[in-house]
């Protein structure tokens, strides 16, 4: 029996991995493509987890991504624990080694945990499993405390209010100010308060407290106890496995000039290259920007990087990765989509709609130039949003 030459191996099982696999097949690669996912279910979207799935208005099956081509080998519960770039193999938790010709790392990120050692029972939402388990607990609860006021924390707060729970949310700042700027975050702050969320500012920070399980959030001046305490404090890239196996792999990245495995994420160049025969995409990565390498853990970024990594792994030319983000949130009865970076303190122009209607098209300018735009319960084509944000690609003639 002749052994087949190794093909392309993708480590990860979410939208970045899925998009990369799809791109590879779509571009005519006919050898083996293997997807190694540590989850026990086929690729799904995390977007509904804090919304329809948590509220129970949506079945888990509804979040499933359309199946990949059947020629792609998707292996579930296959957790990568090590990489050997000399032998070109991925090591799995069960001891198996999977050889690759080229590798795409799409291991994503995990929820950041804040409980100190010895304090058990911390609750986060990152996976379908997390969301379903939390839903069961919420069905028996009366009160919830959420630590962290990013999109996830506010979406959880919104869902919990919709379920009739008493909700307290704790953050250092006005929730979402960093993501949406002062003006829009203040608008949502008011909606959250009208919806009955108690928002506690903790400028000095807050920590989880309890005797041996998490029971409360402690802000120093205030102890907020609740039936369920949820941490929603961002995410951490899953890079540790790259360094776990024996000698540190020689991941000397193209254009990075040094160690590519950083606490910021796995460093990639503008075409999702990490090192010789190693590529990466999605939440695990930190892409090059004028501010140095930074993460952009959003859906659109995972899709664009998944596509770029799928092309680059075949040595096809890639489009330059977009620097301007596009992201969204859905909370307290409003859908928000934003392109660009909303400046912290500038007031946007209301291009259409009004605050009273809770439907708006917003545009931010800095020094007379548009730099970000957002819709609030206001649908327009994405290309128009990008143009208003000044983030469109070079316009076609």
């Amino acid at each position: 029996m002749t052994r087949k030459a190794p093909g392309i191996v993708i480590v990860g099982g979410s939208i970045a991995a899925s998009t990369a696999a799809d791109t590879i097949r779509l571009n005519g690669y006919e050898d083996d493509v293997t997807v190694l996912s540590d989850e026990d279910r086929s690729p799904y979207s995390r977007v509904p987890l804090s919304k329809g799935i948590l509220r129970g208005t949506e079945a888990p099956a509804a979040a499933e991504l359309p199946a990949l081509d059947e020629s792609i080998d998707i292996r579930l519960q296959a957790r990568a624990v090590g990489l050997d770039t000399d032998r070109k193999v991925v090591q799995l938790a069960d001891g198996e080694t999977v050889p690759y010709r080229r590798l795409i790392v799409a291991t994503g990120s995990r929820a950041r945990r804040l409980a100190p050692p010895g304090l058990g029972g911390e609750t986060v939402i990152r996976t379908m499993h997390d969301a379903l388990e939390l839903r069961t607990r919420l069905n028996r609860a009366h009160s919830v405390a959420v630590l962290g006021g990013g999109f996830l924390g506010m979406e959880i707060a919104s869902s919990c209010r919709a379920m009739g729970l008493e909700v307290t949310l704790v953050d250092r700042d006005v929730p979402q100010r960093r993501l949406l700027g002062s003006w829009l975050s203040r608008f949502l702050y008011e909606l959250a308060r009208e919806a009955g969320v108690r928002i506690v500012r903790a400028p000095e920070g807050a920590h989880l407290a309890g005797s041996n399980r998490v029971e409360a959030i402690d802000t120093g001046s205030n102890r907020i106890e609740a039936d369920v305490v949820i941490t929603a404090a961002g995410d951490v890239p899953n890079v540790e496995w790259l360094n776990a196996a024996g000698p540190r792999p020689a991941l000397e990245g193209a254009g990075v000039g040094g160690d590519v495995v950083s606490a910021k994420g796995l460093l990639i160049d503008g075409s999702c290259r990490v090192a010789q025969d190693v590529f990466a995409c999605g939440d695990v990565t930190a892409g090059a920007s004028f501010r140095g390498h930074e993460r952009s853990p959003h859906w659109m970024n995972a899709v664009e990087q998944g596509r770029a990594a799928g092309l680059a792994v075949l040595d096809h030319a890639t489009m330059p990765l977009r620097r301007a983000p596009y992201y969204w949130t859905d909370q307290f009865g409003v859908e928000i989509k934003l392109s660009g970076h909303a400046p912290a303190d500038a007031t946007p122009t209301i291009v259409a709609g009004s605050v009273e209607e809770r439907s708006m098209l917003l545009q931010w300018h800095v020094e007379g130039r548009p730099i970000a735009a957002a819709t609030v319960n206001h649908r327009i084509p994405l290309a128009r949003l990008r143009r208003l944000a000044g983030t469109a690609d070079t316009p076609a003639a």
């Binding site: 939208i15 979207s45 359309p66 990949l68 649908r379 327009i380």
Partner: protein, 64 residues
Amino acid sequence: MRIEVDRHRCEGFGMCEEVAPDLYALDDDGNLQVHEGDLAPGVEARAASGARVCPVAALKLVST
């Protein structure tokens, strides 16, 4: 095969259009218009790619 849109789920993100603008497009009101009827065999794979990037899984390819 043809494209099926779950109108209750679609939120007009426009990701599908970026993948296959000849098959998916948001109109001026941000409502999704899709290629009607049978897909030519040559475009089925791209239609599937467009469906796959929907963040709310609102798109499906179904047999005609």
